[in-house]
């Protein structure tokens, strides 16, 4: 696994993660903000968000195979402790992934990474079949369907039907972990390359990349509100629960943590959390700051306010907090509407599939 990341990436990651809701503070409208080209904006996004997050995911996922292997090799007395350690490693990996994939762009989209390693709902019957198939390496894992591998399948193997030492299920879990690690390393390398591109290189691709980010940021708001939070609640409450959809990460109890991680990605990329705007190339300029740099203070203000409202609504929500979920859903819907109606037009970005577009 690659660990030799450049220091600025690590620092950027730490600073962004340490800055929670308390830091939600937009750049004051009367503070000078530099002009950012689409290239400046995307370089900031790659360098100070995606590359550090992809590196963090690769680091966590890099420890997964060893943690699973320790369970498989444990003697009876140590099995429970090793299982707990593997669970902890899975939680850290899943959270790093949820943060990275909160807004999916570039390699995440091109590789269909979510489908590769986070297909939900996982299918226990397919996992059981895959265990019998006993794949031994990456090539053999390619023939296993996505509903039987990835983080949700490993969650099932760690919580729903926990693996025991020296069993076929444990050996399969090891292959699933290795599969996740491979995808994490590939993503880290890909975002590393994007972050390392100097100004002027492939500059013509930065406009479409910026457009992709705005589109995907808007789509991610809807995904968090609907697919993650509201759909499981509604689908489970109709037709006698026949069509119930479990909340993602419910087996591990990490649902709320997943929502928080995804929201962190949206918030960080959406509104400024620093009192000053960074010079191009020196820090992450979120969408709000990018707008200010273009002189579009009015939509930037609206965005900062709406992100702030959503941030407050997203605090302390969980599947048990129905009222909180309803309020958060409303805030996310409002923010998505703003993104479509004000933010994208202000950036001259066309939302590919817009709700206002009809069909």
């Amino acid at each position: 696994m690659k660990t030799s990341r450049t220091p600025w990436k690590a620092l950027a990651g730490i600073a962004l993660l340490a800055c929670g809701a308390a830091c939600a503070q937009n750049v004051a409208p009367n503070v000078a903000v530099p002009f950012y080209t689409a290239g400046d904006f995307m370089r900031g996004v790659y360098r100070f968000w995606y590359a550090p997050q992809a590196a963090a995911f690769a680091e966590q996922a890099g420890g997964l195979p060893a943690a699973i292997s320790a369970v498989c090799d444990a003697d009876a007395g140590a099995a429970t402790a090793k299982l707990e350690q593997a669970r902890d490693r899975w939680k850290a990996s899943a959270l790093a992934w949820d943060r990275l994939s909160g807004v999916q762009i570039g390699p995440l989209v091109q590789r269909r990474s979510t489908r590769q390693i986070d297909f939900t709902p996982t299918r226990p019957e397919l996992i059981k079949r895959a265990i019998q198939t006993a794949p031994q390496d990456a090539t053999a894992m390619e023939s296993i369907g996505t509903p039987a591998k990835g983080l949700p399948a490993l969650e099932w193997l760690l919580w729903s039907q926990p693996i025991a030492p020296a069993t076929p299920a444990c050996r399969y879990a090891l292959q699933v972990a290795a599969d996740i690690q491979r995808e994490a390393n590939t993503l880290a390398k890909a975002f590393d390359e994007l972050a390392a591109r100097p100004p002027g290189k492939d500059e013509e691709s930065q406009g479409p990349a910026m457009s992709e980010l705005i589109n995907q940021w808007t789509g991610a708001l809807e995904r968090l509100r609907w697919a993650e939070m509201e759909k499981p609640r509604l689908a489970g409450g109709t037709q006698g629960g026949r069509n119930a959809v479990a909340y993602a990460r419910s087996a591990s109890g990490q649902t709320a943590a997943r929502w928080a991680a995804q929201w962190q990605a949206l918030r960080t990329l959406g509104a400024s959390q620093a009192p000053e705007a960074p010079r191009p190339g020196t820090g992450l300029a979120p969408i709000e700051t990018y707008l200010r740099g273009l002189g579009r203070n009015e939509p930037a203000d609206l965005l900062a306010q709406s992100v702030g409202r959503a941030d407050r609504a997203m605090q302390n929500i969980s599947p048990a907090n129905k009222a909180g979920m309803t309020a958060a859903g409303r805030s996310l819907a409002e923010l998505k509407k703003l993104a479509e109606a004000e933010i994208a037009p202000a950036l001259e970005v066309s939302i590919g599939f817009s709700d206002a577009d009809g069909d």
Partner: protein, 386 residues
């Protein structure tokens, strides 16, 4: 503002818009001059976005304005609506496309509709926004997408339970509206735009775009025919049956298809046709009058007054063609989209068009009536009730 004043202002605005747009078609002039307007239908079912979120519901005339008479909150955007025998309605989600809903408009004195049953798409499927029922009402057909492969599907469902009993492939991507023909076959518009769940709101790999019209055997799902336009960047999306085709097999009608252009070049996109016509053998586009910009986006289609009408929200109006395919004029209406053709009891077929702030009714003689339509953003379609 009183309703009557609002209507007068809207009518004046329509007049001004017509004049500004240079709509000098002689076909339209008598329509505007007509003092008497067709009596509008009592109710229209539709999906919309209101201030409180997405809803499905029923609009009814209250004096000069179309107002919500019943509404039901839905969790995500709904697109197509279908009126069932017995008064219940179906609504289908579109992007993300997770649900199919049977609901009942409010009873007298109630303000809310009632959800009767929900059907949820399987994890690897998405509804594409349209549903129709078989002639006997026992089977429903929904357009869907396989999210793994992107392949288009028809979901075959038990109408009583909404449960899926089978799937047929549509031999294309992005199937959108579907209609039954008189011979029992199913015609499906494959929109052809590649889309996958993780691509969110992006249109990617448009070089792979492949729109087509297919005819399927409803006994087996077998492909009976497939037709494509020469221009592969024209997405076939919404359809309406038209006049009988002269010299064709008995019962063969023209099929009008509203198009949406997906060209990379904005000029080509803006100049693209919005209507294609299929006569059972050939699929071809119809051009508007020279100089008439339609912005390459047909939002809905209806057949009224012997010809096809295609709404053009980006050109702010409704494009009209005669039965023989000749251009018939342009009806200005801000963000025109939802269209319907139906006859009120004892009356003649009229065209109803919904825009951003107003709705227009145009009868077979060309007489028009304008109605206020405020505080709602209707989705592409509406369906007359009763």
């Amino acid at each position: 503002m009183k309703k009557a004043e609002a209507l007068t202002k809207l009518q004046r605005r329509q007049w001004l818009a017509l004049a500004a747009a240079g709509a000098t078609s002689t076909w339209l002039k008598p329509a505007l001059a007509a003092a008497t307007a067709t009596a509008p239908p009592q109710q229209l079912a539709a999906a919309w976005e209101a201030a409180r979120g997405y809803q499905v519901g029923v609009l009814a005339y209250h004096g000069a304005a179309l107002q919500v008479s019943a509404a039901l909150d839905v969790p995500t955007r709904a697109h197509g609506v279908w009126a069932e025998r017995g008064g219940s309605l179906l609504a289908v989600a579109r992007r993300p496309g997770d649900w199919l809903l049977r609901w009942r408009p409010a009873n007298e004195g109630e303000s809310q509709g009632e959800a009767i049953a929900w059907a949820w798409a399987e994890p690897d499927r998405a509804f594409n926004g349209h549903v129709i029922a078989s002639p006997d009402g026992k089977t429903l057909y929904t357009t869907e997408t396989n999210l793994e492969s992107g392949r288009g599907l028809i979901g075959v469902r038990n109408a009583a339970t909404l449960e899926k009993s089978g799937e047929w492939i549509t031999h294309g991507m992005d199937p959108h509206e579907l209609l039954l023909d008189d011979d029992g076959s199913l015609v499906v518009a494959n929109g052809g735009i590649p889309a996958l769940p993780e691509t969110g709101r992006l249109k990617l790999h448009m070089e792979r775009m492949d729109a087509s019209l297919v005819r399927l055997d409803t006994r087996s799902g077998a492909l009976l025919g497939q037709w494509r336009l020469a221009d592969r960047r024209l997405s076939l999306r919404h359809m309406a049956w038209g006049e009988p085709v002269t010299g064709a097999r008995p019962g063969q009608r023209q099929l009008g298809i509203a198009l949406q252009a997906e060209h990379d070049d904005p000029t080509a996109k803006a100049a693209a046709p919005v209507l294609a016509v299929f006569d059972g053998q050939r699929l071809q586009t119809l051009a508007p009058e020279a100089g008439q910009a339609l912005a390459g986006y047909g939002g809905d289609i209806a057949h009224a007054a012997g010809g096809f009408a295609v709404s053009c929200p980006r050109a702010n109006g409704v494009a009209l063609w005669r039965a023989d395919g000749r251009w018939a004029g342009f009806l200005p209406l801000q963000e025109a989209c939802a269209l319907a053709a139906a006859a009120p009891p004892g009356g003649e077929t009229s065209l109803w068009a919904a825009g951003r702030m107003a709705a227009l009714t145009r009868d077979s003689r060309g007489a028009m009536r304008s109605s206020a339509l405020q505080d709602l953003r209707l989705d592409n379609h509406w369906a007359p009730l009763g």
